[in-house]
């Protein structure tokens, strides 16, 4: 009888479920893909149903259900912080107690009731241990240093581990504890720049490219770094530990200037937008704050990585935690850091905790040895072709079952069309890597603006990633240490001369690109499409962005894809080889109306 382990992350953000059969990942998905609520944190009922269905088992067949946190330890932190910050925490205390006393504190019971698992089959893994396990045990590396950095888990905000040795173990070396958190500093700056926390961090990273780190020295006042890589923050600048909605105090505003109001136009010099000088100057100031914060974070991570190298002597660094999704910082770690190889868990945020918790239970608790196998991210639901055809007929979308979808899609791309591309199983992690993607020809000078403004309805400064075949690597300065990251779009690398003219839609304003190198084994259909496009144009490269609209998770099933298609400026959608055109206005009279 095989052993089934179900990992679960939930109740903070990015709820997810992962199912292992004898240590091999059978299925994994985030709850948001089913409920359509971005970062959905509720217990992942749908994701669990999907995982069980994939394996063809019932919940009674699951040997262990592993939750990715230790809830009582987290509650201890919340209570201790409320006491230590009395009386400033008066607003936070009732809110948190309502949430915990009403729900979170009774997690064991809730898991048993919701999923129908036996109480003696439950395990709980520390938050950072879950992340560390997702980084090391899903990687191809048996021995490595592991760095986890996020907002906060139970107590740890940054932790260092040594992985491997005589068993597939995770050995904790040390941790920086709440409220000293690199992730939360970045989130505080995200809020200062007018973006939503846990959502707008990517925007800060994109905005940073327009700025210069002119305020970098001011960020030095926020933290002190120790020789061993540890750090402590000056907490007078921050309020996340005692205020329910604000991350920073007026002292941070005094340091960086007034915050940016949400929705303020962002049009620094070089953006190509025609705005008054005052807007341009203010945008430049915001971009400079973003750039300074970005460089500060990179410097901090480099410092910690050097400490990790000194303590472990390892050649490889594995990373996880939300901070590890910062592709620009990952490149600097690869280019300037002390490690020969980097590996980042593609679902480095909390969703990945479900994978890590399950892997930890299999290897570290149950003592099973590692097996060499590549980690693929196509772990989510697939389309059912019969169901898709029925749906398209019922909804009145013009469609065609294409004999050679690769050739037809190439023709569409060469016609300047923007494609919705749904193929195979959906991706694990926040990046769309050619299975739930919006694709376009990267060579057009107006393509990026068109996709931002008329297809995805998002800010015009947001960059797009190039998906390429390995043949096109000569256009990029990819360091050897970050080759593995480029498979999952987890590093932003400098491009070489000429690419910004040849493929302007995928080169950011600072000349970098968040690269995805597509290999045939992992993404055969997407690889074929790139090959076909490369044969036609001499450039095997496509603009690849997630198939979603602003504020929504990437599409999962056919209904989501059609709903997004209908509301966006996408020209054509391919649903597993079925070519779909826009629906007629007679069926949807309000189509195209504001």
């Amino acid at each position: 009888m095989p052993t089934y382990i179900l990992g679960i992350s939930a109740l903070y953000h990015d709820a997810a479920a992962t199912l292992l059969r004898d240590g091999v990942v059978v299925a994994a998905s985030q709850e948001e893909r089913f409920t359509r609520l971005k970062h959905d944190a509720s217990l992942p009922v749908r994701a669990v149903d999907f995982c069980l269905e994939q394996a063809g088992i019932a919940i009674q067949d699951v040997d262990w259900l592993v939750f990715y946190e230790k809830p009582l330890r987290k509650f201890e932190r919340i209570l201790s912080t409320a006491v230590a910050t009395f009386p400033r925490s008066w607003r936070t205390f009732p809110r948190q107690m309502h949430a915990w006393l009403g729900d979170k504190l009774w997690l064991r019971t809730k898991l048993v009731e919701t999923f129908g698992v036996r109480p003696d089959r439950l395990m709980f893994c520390d938050h950072h241990r879950s992340h560390a396990a997702s980084a090391l045990l899903a990687s191809p590396h048996a021995n490595a240093a592991i760095l986890v950095a996020d907002g906060v888990g139970e107590w740890a905000t940054t932790s260092l581990w040594r992985g491997g040795g005589d068993a597939p173990g995770l050995h904790p070396l040390g941790e920086v504890r709440w409220p000293h958190s690199l992730g939360l500093v970045y989130s505080a700056i995200t809020a200062h720049l007018g973006f939503a926390v846990n959502e707008g961090e990517y925007k800060v990273m994109g905005m940073a490219a327009f700025g210069r780190p002119t305020l970098r020295d001011r960020f030095d006042r926020l933290a002190t770094f120790d020789a061993d890589g540890g750090f402590s923050l000056d907490l007078d600048y921050f309020s996340w530990h005692w205020h329910p909605t604000r991350s920073a105090t007026s002292k941070l505003e005094a340091l960086l200037g007034p915050p940016r109001l949400p929705g303020t136009p962002f049009a620094p010099p070089g953006s190509g937008l025609d705005v008054p000088d005052a807007v341009m100057r203010e945008s430049q100031r915001h971009a400079d704050i973003a750039a300074s914060c970005q460089v500060w974070l990179e410097d901090a991570l480099l410092h910690i990585a050097r400490g990790a190298k000194a303590r472990t002597g390892a050649d490889t660094l594995c990373l996880a935690g939300g901070v590890a999704l910062n592709a620009v910082a990952n490149h600097r770690l690869a280019a300037e850091g002390p490690f020969a190889h980097l590996w980042v868990q593609p679902a480095a945020g909390d969703a990945g905790g479900s994978l890590g918790a399950a892997l930890w239970a299999w290897h570290c608790v149950l003592g099973n040895p590692r097996q060499e196998r590549p980690f693929h991210i196509t772990l989510g639901p697939r389309l059912d072709r019969g169901h898709t055809i029925d749906l398209l007929s019922d909804l009145g979308f013009p469609f065609e079952e294409v004999g050679n979808p690769t050739q037809r899609a190439t023709d569409d791309l060469l016609d300047g069309k923007v494609l919705g591309w749904v193929e195979g199983a959906s991706e694990w992690g926040p990046r769309s890597l050619g299975h739930r993607s919006i694709l376009a020809d990267p060579r057009g000078s107006g393509t990026a603006r068109r996709v931002n403004q008329r297809v995805k309805f998002r800010e015009s400064f947001r960059p797009f990633a190039p998906a390429i075949l390995p043949d096109a690597l000569s256009h990029f300065d990819l360091a050897e240490a970050e080759e593995a990251l480029a498979r999952y779009m987890l590093t932003a690398v400098p491009t070489r001369d000429g690419l910004s003219a040849a493929a302007p839609a995928v080169v950011h304003v600072d000349g970098t690109a968040r690269l995805q190198v597509v290999d045939q084994d992992a993404h055969p259909a997407f690889h074929d499409l790139l090959s076909s496009f490369g044969q036609a144009t001499g450039l095997p490269m496509l603009l690849n962005t997630s198939f979603n609209l602003k504020g929504e998770p990437p599409v999962c099933g056919a209904v989501d894809a059609l709903a997004t298609f209908t509301r966006s400026g996408i020209d054509v959608v391919y649903l597993d080889g079925v070519r779909v055109e826009r629906p007629p206005k007679r069926l949807y009279p309000t189509l195209g109306e504001p």
Partner: protein, 248 residues
């Protein structure tokens, strides 16, 4: 009963539309409700056994999304929506939306009651917006978008009524009528539960503040925040499986 309801909507609406901050809150709540409704309709497209209804549900979902955007734009006309409000917005959607808890509204209600729910909810919305419009309550921008929204909502009422009459699940007209009554009763019950919950939160908060001041306060003298820097990981002497099974 209907006159009383309209009078109530007018009274609360007059108060709500008077102040810009309250207007913004109301418009954001509408936007959120429309977004939640769009998700419910899409879930119904996935789950319904009646293929003839898919098109109508899908069009309905598209309309609701459009309305959500219109209301959100109207809210932004009332002043900047800050990140805190957006956060509350998302949290509200998570708390109130029918999908949370793993089962969609359609799955919980079934074909007949879902149709009855659409009919009742849309009829109520038409009435509410109609009172706002006829009494000139909203601001100028919102007044401008209400006719388009009302036109769509009228379509939603008409198709759901038509389909409700045609549905095969309730062969007898009395069953369909019973479904409408059941949905109305549940809406009143849910409204009452929401109100009770809100009261409970207020009362609970008063108790928690008292606890905070009287019990938490004195311990302040001995509590300290962490000083930062790398700390050694705490060692746990328990057997590994016991550690793994523990929530602490």
């Amino acid at each position: 009963m209907r006159a009383l309801r309209r009078a109530w909507i007018r009274l609360t609406g007059t108060l709500a539309w008077r102040f810009p901050a309250e207007r913004r809150r109301l418009l954001l709540a509408f936007s959120r409700a429309e977004q939640g409704s769009a998700l419910d309709m899409l879930a119904a497209v996935r789950s319904t056994q009646r293929r003839d209804l898919r098109l109508k549900y899908f069009r309905h979902a598209m309309d609701e999304w459009r309305h959500s955007g219109l209301f959100r734009r109207a809210a932004s006309q009332q002043g900047v929506i800050d990140a805190t409000e957006s956060g509350r917005d998302e949290a509200g959607l998570l708390l109130e939306h029918g999908i949370v808890g793993g089962r969609t509204l359609f799955e919980r209600m079934g074909e007949l009651d879902f149709l009855a729910f659409v009919y009742v909810a849309e009829s109520d919305a038409v009435e509410q917006f109609d009172v706002y419009r006829t009494n000139d309550l909203p601001d100028e921008h919102t007044r401008g978008v209400l006719p388009a929204i009302l036109k769509d909502e009228a379509f939603h009422v008409s198709y759901s009524r038509q389909e409700l009459l045609r549905t095969q699940d309730g062969d007898l007209p009395v069953e369909r009528l019973a479904a409408v009554r059941r949905v109305r009763r549940n809406r009143i019950k849910e409204g009452w539960l929401r109100f009770s919950r809100d009261i409970g939160v207020v009362v609970g908060s008063v108790w928690l503040w008292a606890l905070y001041a009287l019990v938490v306060g004195p311990f302040r003298m001995v509590a300290r925040l962490d000083k930062g820097g790398f700390q050694p990981a705490s060692l746990d002497a328990r057997p590994l499986l016991d550690q793994a099974r523990s929530e602490a």
